[in-house]
Subunit: 142 residues, 2 copies
Amino acid sequence: MLSIGTLAKRTGTKVQTIRYYEQIGLMPEPGRSAGGQRRYGALELDRLAFIRHSRQLGFSLEAIRELQDLSDSPERSCAQVDAVAQKQLHEVEARIARLEALRVELKRMIGECRADRVANCRILEVLRDHEECLSDHDRPGS
Amino acid sequence: MLSIGTLAKRTGTKVQTIRYYEQIGLMPEPGRSAGGQRRYGALELDRLAFIRHSRQLGFSLEAIRELQDLSDSPERSCAQVDAVAQKQLHEVEARIARLEALRVELKRMIGECRADRVANCRILEVLRDHEECLSDHDRPGS
DNA sequence: GCTTGAAGCTACAGTGGCTGTAGGTCGTAT
DNA sequence: ATACGACCTACAGCCACTGTAGCTTCAAGC
Ligand SMILES: [Zn+2]
Ligand SMILES: [Zn+2]
Ligand SMILES: [Zn+2]
Ligand SMILES: [Zn+2]
């Protein structure tokens, strides 16, 4: 039986994160010691490892919930699992494309600056006026 | 003089977002109509356009605050502006590298799945065990 | 001048995925 | 028996917004 701290160390997770996963129903409520402290077994260790690895691959907690549910019906076709992964791949590719466009624009901006005074800094000029840009980049953020 | 709604339309911003920028001190407190509604001029329009364009290029609100402050000292060297942009470029490049690794791993996972049953779905196997992966990808998220 | 409906106002809660803190309790080694 | 680290709950905070409720103001049409 593992304490929450030991489980945390074994999976590279913070203690609070494990409690958070329990709170949102992603991790099951574990057994407790006589004094009320959480005690975990191998099952929970595997489950948390699955969650963490999926997070590292960029899956949302919602997607992970879906994958876990699917994983509990071993006889079903894995088409839905594959669909979740495909969707994740598309999202990653879309983000890459967007960031790649930003990269080009930033690099151009920086390359055009003659390292002079703020008054005629090319970077600020571009930031003030999107007309100076070559690509679109409608949605803010990354 | 522009109402907040007109300013929002002109800059492709939501009304609430403008009020939020004011709340956190990124946009100045504007004048008000007799009835207490916000009224904006060309200065505020420019300022908001700068914020929005910087956001589209992925700068954080904190970085934008810094860029605005620098922009107010036109005689200074633009080295600091360039440094902010460089840092942003590095962050974008780091994120691309990370996402690229995820992309490869996801694609491999999906490619190896023989579209059978959940019980032996390759995708779930990889998610259960990072040993199946080729790359590291320590930090969760994207 | 009056009505009406869109647009504005404040204040606050919620998003995702955690992270940090305060103030108390439990477990275990000595 | 005591000390101290690990645990507990509950809640606030992060980023950059977005949405809602319940009200007030503005502007166009008559
Ligand atoms: Zn410059
Ligand atoms: Zn642009
Ligand atoms: Zn499969
Ligand atoms: Zn892996």
